[in-house]
C-alpha cells in the first residue's frame, strides 16, 4: 500500500479572485417519497418492501405509540418516576432499524424505543425496565427508558448526550476488523450533535473508514432550545462533508424514505467502508420528557402546524390504499396493543426490586473485597432498620 502523503498545497486549485464560501453554501435537499397524505410522489421509487415487512413496521409504530401514551399516563399517576415519549419520531427509528440486518449494532440516544421494539424487545422487557424491577435486564440501576439488550444487539442507553457517537466509530472499527460484514447505527439528536463527542466521533469514523451510520434525529428541539438557537446554517447533514463523510438528508416522518436512505447508507458502510451521516428531519411532538411542559417554550399553533406532517397517518393511509390493511384492522390492532400494554404494566408493577446483593455486582467483573464488606455492613444496617428500607428488607432476613 502506498504511504499516505500529507495534502500537497501545490495540488490545490489556485484562484486569483478572493472567494468567500457562504456558511450555507451546501443547501442539502430532503429526500421524500410519501407526501403528507400518504400518496406517492410522481416518479418516486418506493423501497422493495413486502407486505409482511410493511405490516411489521406499522404494527411496531402502533405499539410504540400506545406504549408511549400509556407510560406518560403511568408517570403522571406516580407509578413510574420518569418517561420519555417518541411521539412523532416513530418512523425515523423504525424505518432505519428495519433497513438493518439483525446482527448490526444499534446505539441509541434514548428516544428510539421503536428500533428496539422492531428488534424484538418484548412488552414484558420494556415494562421490567420501566419499573426497575428484579427482572429488568439492567438490574433496576438506571432511570426508565434506559433499555439495552446484548441478545438484540442494542447497546444499553446512557443518559449523557453524544457519548455513543465516538463509541459507534470504535465499535464499527472492530466490526470491520472482524470481517463479519456488519455495521453500527448510532442515533442522536440535533442537540447532541453540538457535543464535542460528535466532532470526535465523526472525524475518527471518516479517517478510519469504519462501517458506521450516524443517524441524527433532527426533531427541532433540545429540551426547550429550538434548533435555531442550537446551530447556525443548514443543519447537521452538511457537517459530514467537512469530515470527508457522505451525507443524506431525509424526511424522518416518511418511513419509506428513511428505510431507503438507511439501506443505501448500510450498503456504503458495509461494502465500501464509508461511514454515512443521515439527518432525519422530524418534530418532537411530545415534551422532552415527563419533566418538562412544552407550553413553556413553544406555541400550540406551532404544534398543530407540525402535527399534520406526523408519520403514522401517512403510512397508514398508504397501507390502506395499497389494500394491505383496512381501517378496521388497524383500529383493532391498536386496541389489542392497549390491552397488552396495560396487562404487562400491571404484571411488572408487582415484581419486587432486585435483591440488595445486586447493588455491588457489575461495578467490576467480580466484587472487590471492600465492596463485599460494604454490602455486609449495609445488610446488617437494613436488618436493624427494616422499616426504613421496605423494598429490600424482606430479602435480608
Amino acid at each position: 500500500m502506498a504511504k499516505q502523503m500529507a495534502k500537497d498545497p501545490q495540488k490545490t486549485a489556485v484562484v486569483t479572485e478572493l472567494q468567500v464560501i457562504e456558511g450555507n453554501a451546501l443547501n442539502i435537499p430532503m429526500y421524500q417519497l410519501l407526501k403528507e397524505d400518504g400518496s406517492v410522489h410522481k416518479g418516486a421509487e418506493l423501497p422493495d418492501i413486502d407486505k409482511e415487512l410493511a405490516l411489521k413496521m406499522f404494527d411496531t409504530m402502533q405499539f410504540i405509540r400506545v406504549l408511549d401514551e400509556r407510560m406518560i399516563a403511568a408517570q403522571r399517576q406516580g407509578r413510574i418516576s420518569f418517561y420519555l415519549s417518541s411521539l412523532g419520531e416513530e418512523a425515523a427509528a423504525i424505518g432505519s432499524a428495519a433497513a438493518l440486518k439483525f446482527e448490526d449494532m444499534i446505539m441509541g440516544q434514548y428516544r428510539e424505543q421503536g428500533s428496539l421494539a422492531f428488534r424484538g424487545f418484548t412488552i414484558e422487557q420494556f415494562m421490567n425496565q420501566l419499573f426497575s424491577n428484579a427482572k429488568d435486564l439492567g438490574k433496576g440501576r438506571q432511570m426508565p427508558v434506559h433499555y439495552g439488550s446484548a441478545e438484540l444487539n442494542f447497546m444499553t442507553i446512557s443518559s449523557p448526550l453524544g457519548t455513543q457517537i465516538p463509541q459507534a466509530a470504535g465499535y464499527a472499527f472492530g466490526q470491520k476488523q472482524s470481517g463479519d460484514k456488519t455495521c453500527t447505527l448510532c442515533y442522536f439528536g440535533e442537540g447532541a450533535a453540538s457535543e464535542g463527542d460528535f466532532h470526535a466521533g465523526m472525524n475518527m469514523a471518516a479517517v478510519l473508514k469504519v462501517p458506521a451510520i450516524f443517524f441524527c434525529r433532527n426533531n427541532g428541539y433540545a429540551i426547550s432550545t429550538p434548533a435555531a438557537e442550537q446551530f447556525a446554517g443548514d443543519g447537521i447533514a452538511p457537517r459530514a462533508v467537512g469530515y470527508g463523510m457522505k451525507a443524506i438528508r431525509v424526511d424522518g416522518n416518511d418511513i419509506f424514505a428513511v428505510y431507503k436512505a438507511t439501506q443505501e447508507a448500510r450498503r456504503l458502510a458495509v461494502e465500501e467502508n464509508e461511514p454515512v451521516l443521515i439527518e432525519a428531519m422530524s418534530y418532537r411532538m411530545a415534551g422532552h420528557s415527563t419533566s418538562d411542559d412544552p407550553t413553556g417554550y413553544r406555541s400550540r399553533e406551532e404544534e398543530e402546524a407540525r402535527r399534520v406532517r406526523e408519520p403514522m397517518i401517512r403510512f397508514r393511509n398508504w397501507l390502506v390504499k395499497q389494500g394491505w390493511i383496512t381501517e378496521e384492522e388497524a383500529d383493532a390492532q391498536q386496541k389489542a396493543h392497549k390491552d397488552t400494554v396495560l396487562a404487562a404494566l400491571k404484571e411488572a408493577e408487582k415484581v419486587d426490586v432486585p435483591h440488595v446483593d445486586e447493588i455491588i455486582t457489575d461495578v467490576y467483573a467480580e466484587p472487590t473485597e471492600a465492596l463485599k464488606v460494604q454490602l455486609e455492613e449495609l445488610k446488617a444496617h437494613i436488618r436493624k432498620y427494616p422499616d426504613a428500607y421496605p423494598n429490600t428488607s424482606g430479602g435480608v432476613k
Binding site: 432511570m143 443518559s159 449523557p160 457535543e195 464535542g196 426547550s224 447493588i359 465492596l371 460494604q374 444496617h381
Partner: protein, 325 residues
C-alpha cells in the same frame, strides 16, 4: 425578608447580581426564555435581555470554554451546567484552564470572574446520571473554589459572594432541596463568606461535619442521638475548597469526637481529607477515630437509592460508633 425556596433564592441572587453589575451574564442549556430546567433563571432574559441571559448550544466543554474566555475578557459570567453529572465534558476546561489561568500566566490573565453553577446530589430518583456528588474531583484542583449551600438563605448569600469573588468558583446546588427547602431570605443584596464553615448547632459530645443537602440529614441524625442523651455539634463546611480547618479543629478539640457525613461514594470523598486533617490537628484530643457515613463505592443506583444513600440512620449509626468505640 421573604419566604423563598432554594431555587427562588438562587434566582434572587442572580437578579441582584445582574442589576448591580452589567458585566454579570448567565447562560447555559435551556437557561434563556425557558428559565432553565429547574427554572433557576426564570424571568432573567425578559428583565436583562438576550445578551445577558441566553441559551447555549448543548456542549458543556463549550459552555465552560466560552465562559473562561468571557471571564478573561473581564466579564462576570455565571455559566450553568444543567446537572453536575454532565460537567465532565468540561473537566479539561475547568481543571486545566479555569484553575490554572492565573498561575500559568504569572497573573497576566485570570478568569476570576467565572462562576459555574450546577445542581448536584441524589434523592430525586435520578439514577446514575442525575444524582452524583462530584465535588471531590474538583477539590483536588488548586485554583478553584467550591461552594455547596445547605438552604435558601445560605444559597443566596454564598452565590452573591461567589459571583463577585476574584477567583473562579464552582457553586454546587443541592437539587433535592430546590423546592423542598423554604426559608426567610432578604430580597436585597447580602453576602456570606466563602471558605468559612458555620456551626449550625452547638453540642458537647461529638462533632458531625457535612455540607450542602447532607446538613439536613445530619440534623435528623442529631435528633435521634439527642434521644439517647448525646449532644451533637453540627458544622456546615459551606465551602469545601478552601475549607475552614480552624472551625472544625476547634470543635473537635472541644468534643473529642468527629463524624463526617457525605453523599458521595466513600473512597476519596471529601470526608477523607477532613478526617486526615482532623487527625493531624487534633490527634491528642481524639477519643475515637474519625467516622464516616458515605455513599457506597458503586455508581449511584436507581432501585436501590434508599439503600445506597448515606441517610440519617447511617449517620446516626456512625455517631454511635464514634461514641462507643
Amino acid at each position: 425578608m421573604a419566604k423563598m425556596n432554594l431555587l427562588q433564592a438562587i434566582n434572587s441572587a442572580l437578579d441582584v447580581a445582574m442589576a448591580k453589575n452589567d458585566k454579570v451574564s448567565v447562560f447555559g442549556e435551556d437557561v434563556g426564555h425557558f428559565g432553565g430546567v429547574f427554572r433557576a433563571t426564570s424571568g432573567l432574559q425578559e428583565k436583562y435581555g438576550r445578551a445577558r441571559c441566553f441559551n447555549t448550544p448543548l456542549v458543556e466543554q463549550g459552555i465552560i470554554g466560552f465562559a473562561n474566555g468571557l471571564a478573561a475578557q473581564g466579564s462576570l459570567p455565571v455559566a450553568e451546567i444543567q446537572f453536575g453529572d454532565y460537567i465532565f465534558p468540561a473537566f479539561d476546561q475547568i481543571v486545566n484552564e479555569t484553575a490554572k489561568f492565573r498561575y500559568r500566566s504569572g497573573n497576566e490573565f485570570n478568569v476570576g470572574g467565572l462562576t459555574i453553577r450546577t445542581p448536584y446530589g441524589g434523592g430525586i430518583h435520578g439514577g446514575h446520571y442525575h444524582s452524583q456528588s462530584p465535588e471531590a474531583y474538583f477539590a483536588h484542583t488548586p485554583g478553584l473554589k467550591i461552594v455547596m449551600p445547605r438552604n435558601p438563605y445560605q444559597a443566596k448569600g454564598l452565590l452573591l459572594s461567589a459571583i463577585f469573588d476574584p477567583n473562579p468558583v464552582i457553586f454546587m446546588e443541592p437539587k433535592r432541596l430546590y423546592r423542598a427547602a423554604v426559608g426567610e431570605v432578604p430580597e436585597e443584596e447580602y453576602t456570606l463568606p466563602l471558605g468559612k464553615a458555620e456551626v449550625v448547632q452547638e453540642g458537647s459530645d461529638v462533632t458531625v461535619i457535612g455540607w450542602g443537602a447532607q446538613v439536613e440529614v445530619i440534623e435528623r441524625a442529631a435528633e435521634l442521638a439527642k434521644k439517647d442523651g448525646v449532644s451533637v455539634e453540627i458544622i456546615d463546611l459551606r465551602s469545601i475548597l478552601p475549607w475552614d480547618v480552624d472551625t472544625v479543629a476547634k470543635s473537635v478539640m472541644k468534643t473529642g469526637r468527629a463524624v463526617v457525613s457525605q453523599e458521595a461514594p466513600h473512597t476519596m470523598a471529601f470526608g477523607s481529607e477532613v478526617a486526615a486533617t482532623i487527625q493531624e490537628r487534633c490527634f491528642l484530643y481524639l477519643e475515637s477515630p474519625v467516622m464516616r457515613a458515605s455513599g457506597l463505592d458503586t455508581p449511584y443506583p436507581l432501585a436501590h437509592e434508599k439503600e445506597y444513600f448515606s441517610d440519617h440512620l447511617k449517620t446516626y449509626e456512625a455517631i454511635k460508633r464514634s461514641l462507643n468505640y
